[in-house]
């Protein structure tokens, strides 16, 4: 088959997966930061923050990602005029990162919150007893222990994020799934081969990722 030897197709294939990796990387960082903040809000003693965290999680976790990404393009950019970059592709990229981050942050938040629940109450009580503030208790005592118990769920969230990144193709970023559609349009007789190559590439990224997080979770787990 000459599909995967033609240099233009190879370029498209590589650049498609590069966009996926960039989307995953940028969104993972943003979602992690946002998710930790949201988790802190959800366990905080301030009702307004708790309400905000709960609302965020319930809204974004229960909205289809396609709609979130569409809203980023047609709502934030097209209607409200929020432009994140002058270059068309970069603008679409960052709008995609915004959508993926706010969506994934909801899942990160819930993973961390479940991790906080694994830390025995006595730990927080002891921290309060020696005079640490809420923020100090969370930062020094609870979160480090919580984080070690949610490594495996983080792996799942990251894998889901990587696959979700293909949805940014709907707002015009030429990522892997758009490249696949493109190739299928031009090589209608090799649909299955093209599909297998793209599915295989995703699997080649993600299966090791899953094992890595499994190994890491084992290594970092707090043995109680």
């Amino acid at each position: 088959m000459d599909i995967f030897t033609d240099p233009t197709n190879i370029d498209a294939y590589v650049s498609g997966f590069l966009w996926i990796l960039k989307l995953t990387g940028a969104s993972a960082v943003c979602a992690l930061v946002l998710g930790v903040l949201l988790a802190a809000m959800r366990v905080s003693p301030v009702p307004v923050l708790r309400g905000f965290g709960t609302a965020w999680v319930n809204i974004f976790r229960n909205t289809p990602l396609t709609l979130v990404i569409f809203f980023c393009y047609f709502g934030l950019y097209s209607t409200l005029g929020l432009s994140l970059a002058d270059d068309l592709n970069l603008n679409n990229f960052w709008l995609g990162v915004v959508g993926l981050s706010v969506y994934t942050a909801a899942f990160v938040c819930e993973a961390i919150r479940s991790g906080i629940n694994t830390v025995p109450t006595g730990q927080a009580e002891a921290a309060r007893a020696i005079g640490l503030s809420f923020a100090q208790t969370l930062r020094i005592v609870v979160l480090p222990q919580a984080a070690r118990s949610v490594v495996a769920p983080f792996g799942s969230v990251l894998i889901a994020l990587c696959k979700n990144a293909t949805i940014v193709g709907t707002i015009g970023l030429v990522e892997a799934s758009t490249v696949m559609k493109d190739l299928i349009n031009s090589y209608g007789n090799a649909v299955i081969l093209i599909f297998l190559v793209f599915a295989g590439t995703f699997a080649a990224f993600l299966i090791p990722t899953g094992y890595f997080f499994g190994w890491l979770a084992n290594r970092l787990a707090v043995k109680r």
Binding site: F74, Y77, S78, T79, L88, N92, G169, T170, I171, G172, V174, T178, K181, D182, I184, N185, G188, N189, V191
Partner: protein, 288 residues
């Protein structure tokens, strides 16, 4: 444990049975039509399955269970010529990538779906027609200064990802910025509020969008085509007799006015006069 295993085997069995059942269905459908071609099928069964687009205003647009548009009217003319009543036509939605497979597998008998005749496709299927010569064009705001593709430098153009028009812009006018979506309808609101400067695809499709009531008077088709897209009617590769019959029907439609009537009924509302159907350009149905 034992019960679970038995249940699993039963489930797998049921699934594979369901799959073979589906396979069997389509098989009988294709063997019935494949043997004698569309002429034979139209004669014996008085039925035809026609593939059309469902999302292109003016050409093939599905509203509820109804299909309407120029392609649909052309299909009706052909069915009538083959002796099939309108009630005997079964419409099927086809999309750009599934047209060849649908014809090859016999899911549809005919495809009339903005189907550009080209050599690559001719290797897999047979084309009758063309019944219309379209060309890539630009749709811009009514007050836009853009008069042709050479003025697109630095402008944003909207099209459908992985489509032929999008590729042509990338290769021939690389200085234009290309915003791609999965359908043209997403381009139109952006054109309306100025975030893209032009929408590009075949002129006849653009005319269909411009003729939609919510955009009446807001957009114009530039009218300077920079490609030639002859729209044909797709049939099975070995159905030479069917192809010749369809061409014959088109020839008759050009002279008796039913072609013009089909245009006036659909795309005529875009303000474009009915084109002449040039019968000298009809395909030779694969004969050398």
């Amino acid at each position: 444990m034992r019960i679970k295993r038995a249940a699993a085997i039963a489930a797998v069995g049921a699934l594979s049975f369901a799959m073979t059942a589906c396979g069997g269905d389509s098989e009988t459908g294709s063997s019935g039509s494949g043997a004698t071609g569309i002429v034979g099928k139209a004669e014996s069964q008085k039925k035809l399955v026609v593939g059309v687009k469902a999302d292109q205003p003016g050409l093939g647009l599905q509203t509820g269970s109804q299909y309407e548009g120029f392609d649909v009217e052309i299909a009706k003319i052909i069915a009538k010529g083959l002796g099939v009543e309108e009630s005997g036509i079964e419409w099927k939605t086809t999309t750009t990538p599934n047209r060849e497979p649908f014809i090859q597998q016999g899911t549809v008998d005919l495809v009339v779906a903005t189907y550009t005749i080209n050599d690559e496709r001719k290797q897999k299927i047979n084309f009758a027609g063309p019944y219309f010569i379209a060309g890539q064009d630009l749709l811009v705001k009514a007050d836009s200064p853009i008069t042709g593709p050479e003025q697109l430098e630095g402008k944003t153009v909207c099209s459908v990802s992985a489509s032929t028009p999008a590729k042509r812009i990338q290769s021939e006018y690389p200085k234009a910025k290309l915003q791609q979506f999965d359908s043209y309808s997403k381009c139109l609101p952006l054109l309306e509020n100025g975030q893209v400067d032009a929408v590009t695809t075949d002129d006849i499709i653009l005319a269909g969008y411009a003729a939609q009531s919510q955009y009446a008077g807001k957009f114009k088709v530039v009218g300077k085509t920079f490609s030639e897209e002859p729209y044909g009617i797709g049939l099975k590769k070995d159905d030479k007799a069917g192809c010749e019959k369809v061409n014959e029907i088109l020839r008759a439609a050009a002279s008796d006015g039913s072609y013009k009537a089909a245009w006036d009924k659909t795309l005529g509302s875009s303000g474009k006069a009915a084109p002449e159907l040039d019968t000298s350009k009809l395909t030779n149905c694969g004969s050398v």
